[in-house]
Amino acid sequence: MATSTAHYAEAAAVEAARGRGEPDWLINARAEAARAFAATSMPAPSLRPWKYTDVTALDIEAFAPDAAFAPRMTGTAPAGGFAGTLAAGLATHSEVVREYLGAVVQGTEGKFTAANAAQWREGVLVYAPRGKAFDAPVTVHVDGREGAIFPRILIVAEAASEVSIILRTSSTAAALLVAGVIEVVAQADSRVRLLVDTRWGAATQEFTTLRAKIGRGADVQVGTIALGGLIVKHTVEALMEGEGSTSRIRGVAVGDKEQHFDFVTLQELIGPKSTSEVEIKTALAGASRSIYYGLTRVETTALGASANQENRNLLLSPRAKADADPVLEILTNEVIRCGHGATVGPLDKDALFYLQSRGLDMRQSLTLLVTGFFQSVLSGLDAPGLVEELETALREKLATAELT
């Protein structure tokens, strides 16, 4: 598709950026990213995070960027702060954008991140200035149609600030490619919460990288609930740079039919006494599958650090499949605790019989067991109304999920 290919060329990216009136530094960054995109091949399955999600046959250039794409947002920033599109933020908070955009996730790192850096439009900037807290969560709704979209979100939380973001994603049944980048800068003693409600249409393929740089005493929590999409690959990385920094990465996915979920996590413990927890749980029906690859790396500087990785997968149908690959790299002896656990298995037969002996039919019993299984994640997400809505969506999905 020659017409699509043209969009990804350096000249086209630069021209589009000029047309949007972007500053020179950003146009240069776009050009660099477009060159990196052209020069970089698709990640091969020989790379561990890509072992079970083979994208070598995926042609990004066959998906024309949706020029009209724009996220919808609600939320009010505290005085001096910002919650709006990156495009608008470039005008009002240019120093913040210039300092941090592309500083956490570089546009030259890989095929998908390069595509994003060269092609993102509108984007989202959430900026919490020093000592300030947002009153209510900022909500960002990414609603895709067809072709390709490149959601770009920059979250900057200055020292001792607080912000919570709810990202909802949806799309139509048309083929859609999503290459997202979420950058989080959490400075000393800040608190950042991000809840991602993934409900893409049945033909959407998403590849998103989220990376957080977490400063001294700062706390970052990321929760994902993935119900929709054909392929959903989320790479979530916590760089625990500051002393006493903490992070929690949690995810829940319910798969059915041909759905394919791939969670990659990195917990890089650098600061002394930093702490990081990962908990990913999936329930898989139909011929769906889930992949988990998690790396915990404890650097020599991370004295007294602790980290944990947990991945639990329930197979609800004999055709479903899950692969778990948790890895620890510990470079110091001075860790408090560093653990990982992974399980793949069917529902507990005794628990099923117990519930059935109370009058619940097979489907009701299974639904109750699965929602119970997810409780450890769901109960920890502080978004009361949304969690209930998600539980309802989850039950609805299980009500028709393929069990054979």
Partner: protein, 266 residues
Amino acid sequence: MTQPILEVRDLKVSITEKPDIQIVKGIDLTIRPGEIHALMGPNGSGKSTLASTIAGSPTYKVDSGSILFRGEDVTAATADARARMGIFLSFQYPTPIPGVTMVNLMRESLKARRGAEVPAREFLAELRATLAKLKMSEDMARRYVNDGFSGGEKKRAEILQMGLLKPDLAILDETDSGLDVDALRTVSEGVNALRTSDMGVLIITHYERILNYIEPDFVHILVGGRIVTSGGFDLAKRVEHEGYDPILKELGIASAETPVAEGAAR
């Protein structure tokens, strides 16, 4: 005569995954409305297997014979269908279900049993009344099902569910084991308070204690997958004082120690 609540006819049961191992080897048992039956027998004799089979556990397979509930053949019915009809099993080892609260389960199961929504207010009122009858606190209802419960708490939680679901047939599989003296009295009095004249009760136990509170009309002794003798309350007392051997000797059966899982015996 009134129609029996439960009729078990020449029931033979094996393990679904090991069909050559037959555990229950021909049992007949009839329980009429208002009757209390006690089932005793050495460890491994097949008591829980019989109980689970009556409740419809897929772990066990009925080789032959039948189970009738209020005259209806339920041998092939699913466990949940039987429960909705009014069969309740209080488990010997209740299964923990992390993440699911007792309240949540009880609300769902009451809805299933009644075949209609139960308004929240009505449910709460019934729950509170049942908790009070069993001298139980509301905290229990907010906890995850059997998760981290002590042995005694598990048994109380089973009876709480029985109280809410108001079954026509209650099978209490060693509900007395794990209960302290006071809890045993409370739970037994609770069962008596929850009983109605049309209900049938099957109490599986190793001890006379619970039967002093819930006095049985019949006592059956199960050995090696067969009911070898039946009698009144006296039989339970005799077991308690003498053990099984003298009774078996009188019947001309070698010993209670005879292993049950001896392979295909059809």
